[in-house]
């Protein structure tokens, strides 16, 4: 149920999916005219209806899985092989992993390279709001944060445009402005994720700032639980436009 009617040519996600489905001849899977019918059906399975939910907003059901908290003195077993809270994991030891985490030094940046740390800005949600006019006014491009000591070393000035190159030779498509700040360590640089869009249809966001994704070519994977770490990339600064250099090389 949209809180505000969509503007211009915007279409809801369900409508787009249904149109694609219909064209693929999958009409049976999209047997509704409006998604509210689906929501209504789903709610009816729960013993309520869309009409009722529109009126009351929230409906509470009695808990079926027992009380939320432990009673005093109550016996309880955790869902582990020892039945206890495990600091030492028997299961991990059985699989041949470290039963307790052992510190392993992480790779350090080579000379003249800096660890690329990416993060978010409170104004934007990932990269999808960067073309929103109001939020674009607030923050229209990202900057690469550089410690003053590093800036001195490289002769970088505030708002100077640089290109970034990582350890695998990947270079940002667009330049990014330097912010000289104490808020970043001297072995790292920081940039906000979600900028440096290369689609010209993003009329405001196109070519503003640089994209950190282009520099994340090395993804570390946790051998135990498979989690990914993308802050193990190292970058260096290019003060000249690498595109012009490439052209010169060809000529």
């Amino acid at each position: 149920m949209p809180a505000a009617e969509p503007k211009y040519e915007s279409k809801p996600g369900w409508w787009i999916t249904k149109q694609i489905g219909e064209r693929l001849g999958l009409h049976d899977y999209f047997n509704y005219n409006d998604f509210s019918e689906v929501i209504d059906w789903q709610l009816k399975q729960m013993g309520t209806s869309l009409e009722e939910m529109k009126k009351i907003g929230v409906k509470e059901y009695p808990r079926k899985s027992g009380p939320l908290y432990l009673g005093e003195g109550e016996e309880f077993k955790f869902n582990t092989s020892t039945g206890k809270v495990e600091l030492y994991s028997v299961d991990l030891a059985d699989e041949g992993f470290d039963a307790m985490p052992v510190y392993k030094a992480h790779p350090e940046p080579p000379q003249n390279f800096y660890r690329l740390i990416y993060g978010r800005a409170p104004m934007h949600t990932f990269s999808r709001t960067s073309n929103n006019p109001n939020l674009w006014d607030l923050m229209s491009e990202n900057a690469v944060w550089v410690n003053p000591k590093v800036a001195d070393l490289w002769g970088l000035k505030k708002d100077q445009e640089v290109w970034l190159k990582n350890q695998d030779g990947a270079i940002t498509t667009f330049p990014v402005k330097v912010r000289v700040t104490e808020r970043i360590r001297w072995d790292s640089v920081y940039m906000v994720h979600g900028f440096g869009h290369s689609d010209k249809k993003l009329s405001r966001a196109f070519g503003r700032g640089a994209s950190d994704e282009e520099l994340i070519t090395n993804i570390a994977v946790d051998p135990i639980m498979g989690g990914t770490g993308m802050r193990g990339n190292f970058i260096t600064f290019l003060k000249e436009n690498p595109a012009t250099e490439r052209k010169e090389d060809k000529a």
């Binding site: 104004m123 006014d137 607030l138 923050m139 003053p148 104490e182």
Partner: protein
């Protein structure tokens, strides 16, 4: 390292990164206003002293330019307004706290005064001139009879106008470079000096020119003295005042100010005038033109630099 920056993308036209809300119109108007004040003051002065016959250019010819300068200045002011069609709101109220209100009313008085003054000399300047209507001729006769009285009023308003061109800026507490009471007398003296320079350019009588040059020399010395005091005051002031002074003492305005305003606009013409008074031959237009140039530059620099000085960020 300390860092203070806008993080909400604030970038308002003419406000950020530094204020630039007043462009060429205001300094031009301050220049023309000061120049007119100078011309009218000395026209009045020599009339009151009863030397109108010996100071023909001062009393008769130069005042022709005063209303033109005032009207051009007013035009520049009007041009500067962003909400022009509401300008009449200036004349619906008198606000004693506001220098701009003072200025609007002063101009309202002195512009017609200068026109009346010029009109009373029209027949002497252009012998073929005729006022066509008898009531105008009667009015002219009345003005000519009461010229000394008119001269007194004009002198008073010329001083108010001259001081006002400085006070307009010095009333702004938020701009440390302007916020000094020396600006009032400094602009008055500088305005009178440019008025004298204009009169010297127009005068054909060597005796009159010599007299005016002598007065001008005194004004230039006072001006240099006031400029020295201006900087002494800044350097003994708060952090913001010291920063303001540093724009001229090593900052981006150092060369333009000391070379164009002080050297070319004050010291050089002063030396030339002294040489002339000592009997050396100097092109008579050169010191006057330099003074006018220096005066104009001075106002442009003060308006431009003042807007850069601030309290925050």
């Amino acid at each position: 390292m300390n860092e203070e920056l806008f993080v909400s993308g604030r970038d308002i036209p003419n406000i950020d990164p530094y204020l630039n809300i007043w462009h060429w119109q205001i300094p031009l108007y301050l220049f023309l206003g000061g120049l007119a004040a100078g011309i009218l003051f000395f026209a009045g002065f020599y009339t009151v002293r009863g030397k109108a016959d010996r100071m023909q250019a001062t009393v008769k010819w130069a005042p022709l330019l005063a209303p033109i300068a005032l009207v051009l200045g007013l035009g520049a002011l009007f041009w500067d307004l962003k909400h022009e069609l509401y300008f009449w709101q200036l004349y619906t109220t008198v606000r004693l706290d506001s220098p701009m209100s003072w200025g609007a009313w002063t101009l309202m008085v002195i512009t017609p005064l200068s026109l009346v003054w010029v009109a009373s000399y029209m027949k002497e300047i252009f012998p073929w001139w005729d006022w066509k209507f008898s009531f105008l001729n009667k009015f002219e006769a009345w003005v000519i009879k009461n010229r000394v009285g008119l001269a007194w009023v004009m002198m008073v308003y010329a001083v108010i106008l001259g001081v006002y061109t400085g006070i307009l800026l010095s009333a702004f507490n938020a701009r440390p470079l302007w916020n000094t009471s020396i600006l009032g007398p400094l602009f008055l003296v500088s305005g009178f000096s440019t008025g004298l320079a204009t009169t010297i350019l127009l005068s054909k009588d060597p005796k009159e020119r010599k007299r005016l040059s002598q007065i001008d020399l005194i004004f230039i010395v006072i001006e240099l003295f006031l400029i020295t005091h201006l900087f002494m005051g800044f350097l003994a002031g708060s952090e913001t005042a010291i920063e303001a002074a540093n724009l001229f003492l090593g900052g981006p305005f150092t060369v333009t100010f000391w070379v164009f305003v002080v050297a070319l606009g004050l010291i050089f013409p002063a030396v030339l005038e002294t040489l002339e008074l000592l009997g050396y031959h100097v092109p008579k237009w050169l010191p006057a033109v330099l003074i006018l140039f220096g005066g104009l530059m001075f106002r442009f620099i003060m308006v431009e630099a003042g807007q850069i000085t601030r309290y925050l960020y």
